[in-house]
C-alpha cells in the first residue's frame, strides 16, 4: 500500500515537473518565434509587397501579400531607372564575381608564399597587409579616385574591382596562410618526390586541401563586393556603369518628387536575395570565416 502511494506521489511530482518543463519550453519557443519574426518580417513584407500591382505600390503593405493577384509591375518600373535593371544587375554580378576570382587567385598565391617560403622581410610584409585593416578605406577614397584616374581606370568596373580585391586582402591572405599552415608538410614532401613542383604542386595537390578556406574567402569577397556602396558611389560616374546600390539612389530620389515605392521594394528584393541564398547555402564556410576573424 505504501509502495503504491509512493508511486502515486512520484508520478504526480514527475507529472508536475513535466508540466513545468513543458511550460518553460513553450515560453522559450514563444520568445524565439517573436524574435525570429522581428528579424524575418522586414524581408518577408518587402518580397511579398514587391509582387503587388503597380497601382498598389503607393499603398501601405496592409496586408503585405499581393491581395489582388501577383504582378511584376514593380520590377518593370524598376527596369525604367538608369540603364535598366538587367544592366545594373549584370554590373553588380560582374564586379562581385571578378572580385571573387581575383581575391581567391591573389590570396591563394600569397597565402602559399607566406606559409611555405622564407624570404627577407617576410613578416614585415605580412604585417603590412594585415595592418591595412586598421585604416578605414573611407579615409583614402579621394586619393584612390585620383590614382585610378591616373591609371585610366576611373569610372571603370575593373578599377572598382581592384579596389574591392585590395580591401579583401587582409582577411583573405590571413585565411589562406592559415589554411596552408594546416596542411601537413609530409603531403608536400611526398608530392615533391613524385615530381610535382611549385605551381603544379600548388594547383594539383594543395588546392583541394585548402578548398574550405577558399570557399570562406570567396563568400566574403562576394558579399562585400555585392553590398558595397560608398566606393561605388564615388568611383563610378556614368549611369550605365552603376552597380545596384548606386542605381537604387536614383530610385530612392524618385521622379518629380514622388518615389516609386514599388521599384524600391523590387530593388531591395533583387539586392538582398542573392546574399541570403549564398549565405544559407554556404553558412558553414561563412561562420568559419567569422570565427577566424573573431578569434584573431
Amino acid at each position: 500500500m505504501t509502495l503504491s502511494k509512493m508511486n502515486a506521489s512520484m508520478s504526480l511530482s514527475r507529472r508536475r515537473r513535466a508540466r513545468k518543463a513543458f511550460r518553460a519550453e513553450s515560453t522559450y519557443h514563444a520568445t524565439g518565434v517573436a524574435i525570429a519574426l522581428f528579424f524575418l518580417v522586414p524581408f518577408a513584407i518587402t518580397l511579398l509587397a514587391s509582387f503587388r500591382h503597380g497601382t498598389e505600390a503607393r499603398l501601405p503593405p496592409l496586408p503585405p501579400w499581393p491581395a489582388n493577384g501577383i504582378s511584376l509591375d514593380s520590377y518593370r518600373s524598376l527596369d525604367t531607372f538608369g540603364a535598366g535593371v538587367w544592366q545594373h544587375t549584370f554590373n553588380s554580378l560582374l564586379v562581385s564575381l571578378a572580385t571573387v576570382a581575383l581575391t581567391v587567385a591573389v590570396s591563394v598565391l600569397a597565402g602559399y608564399g607566406f606559409s611555405r617560403y622564407r624570404f627577407p622581410l617576410k613578416n614585415v610584409l605580412f604585417v603590412l597587409i594585415i595592418a591595412t585593416l586598421m585604416i578605414p578605406f573611407q579615409s583614402i577614397l579621394t586619393p584612390l579616385f585620383i590614382i585610378l584616374a591616373r591609371l585610366g581606370l576611373n569610372n571603370s568596373l575593373f578599377g572598382l574591382t581592384l579596389v574591392y580585391v585590395t580591401l579583401q586582402l587582409p582577411f583573405s591572405v590571413f585565411m589562406m596562410r592559415n589554411a596552408f599552415d594546416a596542411v601537413p608538410k609530409e603531403i608536400e614532401e611526398a608530392a615533391r618526390i613524385d615530381g610535382a613542383r611549385d605551381l603544379k604542386l600548388l594547383f594539383r595537390v594543395l588546392m583541394p586541401l585548402v578548398l574550405p578556406g577558399i570557399a570562406t574567402v570567396a563568400i566574403f569577397a562576394f558579399l562585400n563586393a555585392w553590398n558595397e556602396f560608398l566606393a561605388a558611389l564615388v568611383l563610378l560616374s556614368s549611369n550605365e556603369k552603376y552597380t545596384l546600390p548606386v542605381l537604387m539612389m536614383a530610385v530612392r530620389a524618385g521622379r518629380l518628387g514622388a518615389v516609386n515605392w514599388g521599384a524600391v521594394q523590387a530593388g531591395v528584393a533583387v539586392m538582398t536575395l542573392p546574399c541570403l541564398v549564398v549565405f544559407l547555402l554556404l553558412q558553414r564556410y561563412y561562420m568559419r570565416g567569422l570565427m577566424a576573424g573573431a578569434v584573431k
Partner: protein
C-alpha cells in the same frame, strides 16, 4: 623533430638558410595591390592634406592651413559630435539586444540553430539594402510601421518617422540593431561557449543567484570577447555613412551628417579635395587611437581572465 638525428637535420638547415626568392614571386600580386591601392593612397592623403587641391586646375601648397581650418570648422565639430553621439547610443542599443540574444541562443534546445540563422540573416545583406528597406517601412504614407500602428488604433494619424531628428534617429538605431545585432550575438556566443559549464554549476551549488553568476562569472570571463565586440561596433559606427545618406540625406536640418558623410561632402560634392584629405587624416588618427586602445583592452582582458 630533434629525434631525427644530426645527419638528417643538416641538409634541411642548409636549404633553409638561404632565402627562397620564389616566395616573393607568390606574394607579389598581393603586395602590388596593397601598395598601389592602399599604401600609396594613405601617403597621398597626407600629401594632399597640405594642399589646396581643386578637382580641376593645379594644387597649391598651403602647409597646415587645412588643419587650422578644421579646428575652426563648426560643421566638422558638429559632425564629430553627432558621430560620437550616434556611436555611443547605437553601441549601447546593439549590446542591449545582442547580449540577451546570445544567452537565448546559447542553450541546447530544439530549433536553436534556426533561431541563430534567422537572427543572423540581416547581417549578410548590405547596409545600403537594409537602409532602403527601412526607409520604405518607415515611410509615412506608403510604409509599414506608421500605417500599421494607425490600423491597430495605437495612433490617430500615421507618424512621419523620418521628419524629426529624434524619431528619425530612433528609426535608424532600430534599423542598425536589426542589421547588426546578429553579428554581435555570434561574437558574444563564442565567448559564452568558451566558459566551462562546471564553473557556473559550482557557483550555483554554492548558492549564487542568476544575476550573481552573470556578474561574477560570465562577465569577467567574457572580458576579451566583449572588448572585441565593443571595438568592432565602435569602429564600425564611427565610419557610418550609408544609413544617413540613404535614409535621411543627412536630414532633418542637416543634423545627421556623420564624419564620413562630411568628408564625402567636402571631397565629392564641394570638391575641396585637399580639405577632405585633411579631414580623412583626422579620422584616421581617431581610428588608430581606438585601435591602439583596442589592443590594450584586449591585453588587459587576457591578464585578468
Amino acid at each position: 623533430m630533434a629525434g631525427a638525428g644530426p645527419g638528417k637535420a643538416l641538409p634541411v638547415r642548409r636549404r633553409r638558410r638561404h632565402p627562397q626568392w620564389r616566395g616573393l614571386l607568390y606574394i607579389a600580386p598581393a603586395m602590388a595591390l596593397v601598395v598601389v591601392f592602399f599604401v600609396m593612397p594613405v601617403l597621398f592623403t597626407g600629401w594632399m592634406s597640405l594642399h589646396n587641391w581643386p578637382l580641376l586646375g593645379s594644387p597649391r601648397w598651403i602647409g597646415f592651413n587645412n588643419y587650422f581650418r578644421m579646428a575652426n570648422d563648426a560643421r566638422f565639430v558638429s559632425a564629430l559630435r553627432f558621430t560620437t553621439y550616434y556611436t555611443v547610443i547605437v553601441t549601447i542599443a546593439i549590446f542591449a539586444v545582442a547580449f540577451p540574444l546570445a544567452i537565448f541562443v546559447e542553450k541546447h534546445r530544439r530549433f536553436v540553430g534556426a533561431y541563430r540563422t534567422i537572427i543572423f540573416l540581416p547581417v549578410v545583406v548590405g547596409l545600403a539594402s537594409a537602409s532602403l528597406l527601412w526607409v520604405w517601412l518607415a515611410n509615412v504614407d506608403s510604409g509599414f510601421v506608421g500605417p500599421a500602428l494607425k490600423a491597430l488604433g495605437v495612433v490617430e494619424k500615421s507618424p512621419n518617422l523620418l521628419a524629426t531628428f529624434d524619431s528619425a534617429f530612433f528609426t535608424i538605431i532600430v534599423m542598425v540593431v536589426w542589421k547588426i545585432a546578429g553579428f554581435t550575438m555570434i561574437i558574444l556566443l563564442t565567448g559564452l561557449q568558451a566558459i566551462p559549464s562546471e564553473l557556473a554549476e559550482a557557483a550555483r551549488i554554492d548558492g549564487a543567484g542568476r544575476w550573481q553568476r552573470f556578474r561574477y562569472i560570465t562577465l569577467p570571463l567574457m572580458r576579451r570577447t566583449i572588448a572585441l565586440a565593443l571595438i568592432i561596433s565602435v569602429t564600425g559606427s564611427i565610419l557610418a555613412f550609408d544609413q544617413f545618406y540613404i535614409m535621411t540625406s543627412g536630414g532633418p536640418q542637416n543634423r545627421m551628417i556623420s564624419v564620413v558623410y562630411y568628408i564625402f561632402n567636402q571631397s565629392f560634392v564641394s570638391f575641396n579635395l585637399g580639405y577632405g584629405a585633411a579631414l580623412s587624416i583626422a579620422l584616421l588618427a581617431i581610428l588608430v587611437v581606438i585601435s591602439v586602445m583596442q589592443l590594450r583592452l584586449l591585453r588587459v582582458g587576457e591578464d585578468r581572465a
